[in-house]
């Protein structure tokens, strides 16, 4: 295992500390229990947005803390959802009197820990609502699974809900738009290589030199299917088809296309994937109104990418375009 780290047990602490130093204008890092809040939290009269989950997905979520997006992020150990304590602390820190929205990716651990924190916050008189993102079409949402995972769509939910909170929407209003984004977004990912969790020291799975994993999640867990490496265009088709069929997206739809790198894939490859995805959507009469390309929700150094498609309406477009100022997403200010 070759990594730029000092001690596997201190990876999250040291990285978050570095993040806090680099972005002291935007965030405050609390260390006990560890969480990252907006430098000016709580913002009075604004719904507070808290997200969190296992570390290793950077910039998610701390990279999205700042005006127009999240009020706090709670990083757990690598690939391990945080415990209720820091979630509770973050919830208290960002409560500006209008309630707090928890944006939770659909994993058993995240859901349970956020639930507990929400119960504890409610006991402290803070109104909390939770939105659980579950956009990953690689997983069947059925009685036979823990439900679809929350992946790339989470970034879009955080941006758009953040803008809704910023314009002064109520907790119910922000929750409603977050739910609407989640209901209209679908994703699927693949990996060329596994990643190595620092404390494990071994790859999360092994792939032959000509194999790739299709339907990968963001925790380095193996995908649904292992296939032989294919050209970029064929891989894009393999991911995009189930996405399009799931919602479904159809001719006349306006969408946001998000090509996300898993952490170790260079940008030059992401744009090759973007090119094909744009071509396929155009063939289907689906218009790309907005796009996002880069490493936004990652799995450590994994090579691979995911595609996310969000069906937009005018309100979502307006909220997407609204100013945001975070370490990882910034425009309009």
């Amino acid at each position: 295992m070759k990594k730029i780290i000092n001690d596997p047990k201190r990876v999250v602490d040291e990285s978050v500390a570095g993040f806090g130093l680099a972005h002291a204008d935007l965030v405050r890092v609390e260390t006990d229990p560890i969480h990252v809040v907006r430098a000016d939290a709580p913002v009075a009269g604004k719904v507070g947005l808290v997200s969190g989950g296992g570390s290793g997905h950077e910039p998610l979520h701390a990279g999205f803390v700042g005006p127009g997006m999240l009020d706090a992020a709670v990083p757990g150990a690598v690939f391990t959802s945080p415990t209720p304590d820091p979630i509770l602390a973050a919830t208290k820190a960002v409560d500006g009197g209008k309630g707090v929205l928890h944006i939770v990716k659909n994993y058993t651990g995240d859901v349970l820990n956020f639930e507990t924190a929400a119960d504890l916050a409610a006991a402290d008189g803070i109104e909390v609502r939770a939105v659980v993102t579950n956009d990953d079409v690689a997983v069947k949402d059925s009685l036979y699974t823990a439900g679809r995972r929350g992946v790339g769509g989470t970034v879009l939910v955080e941006k758009i809900a953040g803008a809704a909170a910023d314009r002064g929407d109520s907790l119910d209003g922000v929750a409603e738009i977050a739910e609407r984004v989640n209901a209209n977004v679908r994703s699927m990912g693949m990996a060329l290589t596994p990643c190595i969790v620092p404390h494990a020291g071994e790859p999360s799975f092994t792939l032959a030199e000509d194999e790739v994993e299709i339907g990968i999640g963001i925790h380095g867990e193996p995908g649904r299917e292992r296939i032989k490496l294919e050209p970029a265009d064929a891989i894009v088709d393999r991911l995009l088809t189930p996405i399009i069929e799931d919602l479904p997206y159809s001719s006349g739809d306006r969408v946001l296309l998000f090509v996300n790198g898993m952490g170790g894939t260079p940008q030059i490859e992401l744009y090759i994937a973007y090119r094909r995805a744009a071509e396929v959507l155009a063939e289907k009469g689906i218009t790309i109104e907005r796009s996002l390309v880069g490493n936004y929700i990652t799995s450590l150094e994994m090579q691979g990418f995911s595609l996310t498609v969000l069906k937009l309406d005018d309100e979502m477009i307006g909220l997407w375009d609204a100013p945001v100022h975070t370490a990882a997403l910034r425009w309009g200010r």
């Binding site: 229990p33 296992g54 757990g76 150990a77 690598v78 690939f79 391990t80 959802s81 945080p82 415990t83 209720p84 304590d85 994993y107 058993t108 651990g109 349970l112 820990n113 639930e115 507990t116 690689a138 997983v139 069947k140 009685l143 036979y144 699974t145 823990a146 995972r149 969790v197 404390h199 494990a200 071994e202 999360s204 799975f205 999640g217 925790h219 380095g220 867990e221 193996p222 649904r224």
Partner: protein, 223 residues
């Protein structure tokens, strides 16, 4: 026969503390194995999570006030696991120990029936939180056989220690039985059919923890 002696003696605070120490030792000893199991069908953190949690529990054993009951120990374990383990296992084991503690609240020593109540409440807590059914390839597949075995043992007149031994053996068998299953809850469920052929890490950690409980019970009574 040691077992008759054991039947006569209830499990007290010494047992509870010993259970937790042995549990912590076991999590540490099997850390890499549990990580490896979780890497195969999950995300490779189960051993790390459990070890971190039990390492946080250990120093608190020294701070237990005099007159603490087994329930007090289990409650401390519950809250510590909840605030240090994270992931799915943190809340699930946390709830298990919390409910288990509730089931034996106030008792300074528990008998075979107490063991059954403790295990059943723990299992029910996990099911209430995680909604898994038997056969879903989760830790429930170790807990439920353990509860069932404990009940038969106790019904048959076994001692508390014997009851725990039955539970531990059943949990280990339950963990073995998860191997062929296709997961329907937790992270392994994402793999669908590909999850078959691998042991569930949470079922295995349950087997280790109940083994620690049984070992602590037989040790306490034979010492």
């Amino acid at each position: 026969m040691g077992s008759i002696g054991a039947a006569a003696v209830g499990l007290d605070i010494t047992w509870a503390v010993d259970w937790v120490r042995r549990g912590a030792e076991s999590m540490s000893e099997h850390r890499v194995e549990l990580i490896t199991l979780d890497r195969e069908i999950g995300d490779g953190d189960h051993g790390e999570n459990m070890d971190r949690g039990f390492q946080a529990v250990l120093p608190k054993l020294d701070d237990l006030p005099a007159g603490s009951t087994p329930a007090d120990v289990l409650k401390m374990v519950a809250t510590t696991l909840i605030s240090t383990v994270g992931g799915a296992a943190g809340p699930l084991y946390g709830t298990a120990f919390l409910r288990g503690s509730g089931a034996i609240a106030g008792e300074s020593s528990i008998d075979a029936a107490g063991v059954v109540s403790l295990l059943e409440a723990s299992r029910d807590g996990i099911v209430a939180r995680g909604k898994a059914e038997s056969g879903d390839k989760t830790m429930v597949d170790a807990w439920t056989p353990a509860v069932d075995a404990a009940r038969s043992a106790a019904d048959g007149g076994a001692s508390a220690a014997e009851t725990l031994r039955a539970a531990a053996d059943a949990a280990a068998a339950g963990s073995d039985a998860t191997i062929p299953l296709v997961a329907r809850k937790g992270r392994a469920s994402y793999l669908g059919e590909r999850s078959a052929g691998h042991r569930d890490p949470g079922a295995q950690s349950t087997a280790y923890l109940l083994e620690a409980a049984a070992a602590a019970a037989s040790n306490g009574t034979s010492a």
